[in-house]
Symmetry: C3
Subunit: 140 residues, 3 copies
């Protein structure tokens, strides 16, 4: 059962694609069929499978989540208590709760069985640069 | 490791149950214990496990998501850029991001270990009819 | 493939940690590497991996979901039809749809590969006490 932890650098909030890294891991493993589990080891970023064609989709997704969960400095968020690390702290946890920390992707013919328009993204919710650890686990 | 891709027809936005198709796949595989991964190969529909008893639950779920993410022709959605395929295009991506593309369901005694009131649904977010590909992967 | 169903008591809406129960199950199984799937057999509670350090994070998360999806007795929720079991009934289904019923966590060196600040929680959305069944399945 191949397993690895990769480290993805982020430069502020937004979507960072790593479909190629995941495909390369599956190809190297040489497994014909199986299940790739992608797991992020943080609570202020998350995972998303989304359209890889028009970049406006990522821009609009990011906008939606920013409008649904504004910074805790926004008057509408006056009820937030946890702001130890700044106004992007608690909204990051909420956005992570609304998306995924773990995604299972079936593998067939040594490839991720993603649809034509599906890309795999790390969704960073913090404003400052981070290094994010993602576990790739290829099982049966 | 049995694996298949099924095609589900949809007739506009809403929830389409396919618990029986998934159970039948598991039964045919003859696997005593394992994990069924259900994966949808699209970015404008998604998966949901929800109550299978009162149809009003599905109606209300659909309503909630339509109110949280109205068509991009709605004045409150004026910030949306990606509307190439119509006012239901970007909201579909957002609703997919808020729900799941992949769900793992444990199998025991050759059956999905769903609770009594749990049904497995394809959640269509587009207005027009579509055919949706769903991967069923039964692993260890 | 070790598999078990545990029963978690809840005392009203909120987050209930059970990381230790899941870790203990993995340790007893004696499996070096694998994938733990956690699956909740209900449609009015859900699962969440979130920060285990500051309890204010859980309090704020709970607040966010209560504000996004108020009880159906709230004027803003007048469109809700399904209220058979009270004003916390339909909101519970919606909050479950917005979070997860199933989470896959990779296992390495006989331990869940959670990040330092990640805890595993049952997210109860109903007001009254319940017993909640959670399947733990450890596969390859």
């Amino acid at each position: 059962m191949p397993q690895t932890i990769i480290s993805l650098p982020t430069r502020g909030a937004g979507l960072y694609e790593f479909t190629d890294e995941a495909q390369a891991f599956v190809r190297r493993a040489g497994v014909e069929e199986g299940l790739l589990t992608v797991f992020v080891r943080h609570t202020s970023c998350s995972l998303l499978i989304q359209e890889n064609a028009d970049p406006d989709v990522r821009r609009d997704l990011d906008q939606f989540f920013k409008r649904l969960v504004p910074p805790s400095s926004d008057p509408s968020m006056g009820w937030v208590i946890h702001a130890a690390e700044g106004p992007d702290d608690m909204p990051a946890h909420i956005k992570a709760a609304l998306t995924q920390v773990s995604i299972g992707i079936p593998v067939g013919e040594r490839r991720l069985l993603l649809g034509t328009w599906q890309g795999l993204y790390l969704f960073e919710h913090r404003d400052r640069p981070h290094r994010r650890e993602v576990v790739l686990h290829l099982g049966g």
